[in-house]
Amino acid sequence: MGYHQMHYKTEYRPSKSMSFFIGAVLILLIMNILYSIDLNPLLVFALGLFTSFFTLDYFYEKTVPGKLRASISNKDIRLFKDQEGMLEIEVRNEGWMPILNAAFRLTAGDDIQFEKDISLKTRYQTETISFFTVMPKSSTILKVPFRARKRGVSKIIRTDIEVPRIFGFGSLFLVQSNRSSDELLVYPEQLHTPPFDMRNKMIQGLFIQKKALFNDPMLTVGTRDYHQRDSMRDVHWKSSAKTGELQTRIYEKTTHLSWMVAINLRSEKNYAPPANIEEIIENIAYLTSRAAEAQIPYSVFTNLSSFDSHTFLSRDEGSGGLHYRSTLETLARINTLSFTLSFDRLLKHIYLHKAMPSHLLFTGRTDPAIDEMLLSFQARGVEIFQIDESGVLPYDAYKRSGSRVPS
């Protein structure tokens, strides 16, 4: 989430009234020269007045744009769908000229909607205008209320400012000279679904900890007498010295419970997302909130192409509130109109490169290729569940594929 300063430059727009005024003065001047040898004092006065205004106006036009800065002061805006928020924009005038009754136009993506939305023609955008006055060497805060319309990331597309010329006619039009990087995140709603059975598992060979399958070596709960096959690494030397006999550490038992959520963004017949994708995402938002509360570690993968170091848009395994915040951000960033990869390819990638979870929760359609991959997961002891808008249901890949269950 960027804290970005917006800079402005003048966009030239001819002022009709100014052109008319210049024309009128020139005509009067020419007529005066043609009809009389001496200049009319009144005309000289008017000309002087005009020249002063013109010079001041020129100075104003040259000074204001470079000295005007705007930035969103309440950075990191995150809301759930249908929540109302307030965008605070700080406009700072670093120049020596006041800016009176200027209009600040703000355009953003239509994942949010400004309270006073004026966008009529452009699709996928919301636009509003706020008026402000800012004195020299000072700043003002513009408050722009809005409502979160739909899940997604609403980017600030552009801003521009119309400043009335205080020494001339018409207005100065200032357009943003740098690109905006600010964005507002709209999280999905949480679709409450019935809980599903998630027993703690203790599976040999699947736990991430490589040196201890069942024990947590960081948590010593006590000691016992040394047995012949105990590792020397596990000897509690201090206790051994105190008792005069070798003592072995007893570690806390570990349980293996972790979720992996795999979201399939392709529907059955084409590359378009399933019709119920929003409900599924809302369901995942709810399930992961429960996982976050219960401190269950989980990861999220989508078959959406990612252009960073990860092949797929994903959120690595983590737990707790901050991880849930990141998860909601990932869910908000799922663009269903973007380029997707095949779901079985995603599953293969997970199977080859990621640690096995105890539970795999996937969404969307299945086909023989997907079933084959799910079968590989199930063969390694992973419990598989399918998520749809109604909830989470157990999925038996063996039954689906017609394969024999390994003994």
């Binding site: 960081m218 849930y324 909601l328």
Partner: protein, 319 residues
Amino acid sequence: MNIENHLENFKSEIGKVIVGQDEVLDLIFISILQKGHILFESVPGTGKTTLSKALAKTIGGSFRRIQFTPDLLPTDITGLNMYNPKTHDFELQVGPIDTNVLLADEINRATPRTQSALLEVMEERQITIDGKRIEIADPFIVLATQNPIESAQGTFSLPEAQMDRFLMRIDLGYPSRKEELNMMSLRNDSNVSEAVQTVFSEEMITELQDRITNITVDPSIMEYMLDIIHQTRQHKYVGTGVSPRGTLALMHAVQGVAMIRGRDYVTPDDIKYIAPYVLSHRLVLNLEGLTLSNQDTVLKAIIDDVEVPVEYGVSPDAL
């Protein structure tokens, strides 16, 4: 020597190795005067460790540094009873904790179990090894550094009880463009321990601490502080609010602010200024708070909401 001179000396010494950070140095100065522990938290490469080392040098007395790593054990910090095969007896080996200034570098790289070894000493200035109590030198200040939790892999967030023991959490942030330009032109590669001189003796700190206790805190100001504290315990985004230890920390810190501002009384403005540094890290947000907001934003909203005490006849809007 008056307080302005002390502050100026302190800043000029630190300024030999750190460019800018004027406001941060004010905050650190206040913490030193209150013997408060400081947690420096910012992205890598912003000078946390250099600043901590320079700071440690400005305070007279012994200095020790512990590089926190995932395999560090509590006994590596506090010490242990070590078996001596020659005497057939256990000998007490006190760890690096026995010092005046302790630099706990990258504190969140150690496990919470190891981090917890600092709990007793930070609060009570003593350690207990196998039932034996050992007093730690006075003054004792912990300067800890950590990278933001979200961006770092292989880190362990500090337990709430540990966070509560830090008087202030200071984010160094990036220097301004001008400061960074200055930093580039200085090309300062000098050794911190050689460049920085000690400016505070133990007696000086004691004397300044005595002066701080004379800073007046009006009952209405105390009520204002309590209003803020109580709001932190009731806010919808907060799971656990500021503790009574946090209340005292705020009280001490505002006295420090008044002192460096050359006043012998505290104003609401001092509280508004210092509260984010003293209170925000003590807030434990609930799931909703973590999802939609952060500690700094929640605290700012609370401070904005709480009514500021004013003299009779003055409109609150005028403030």
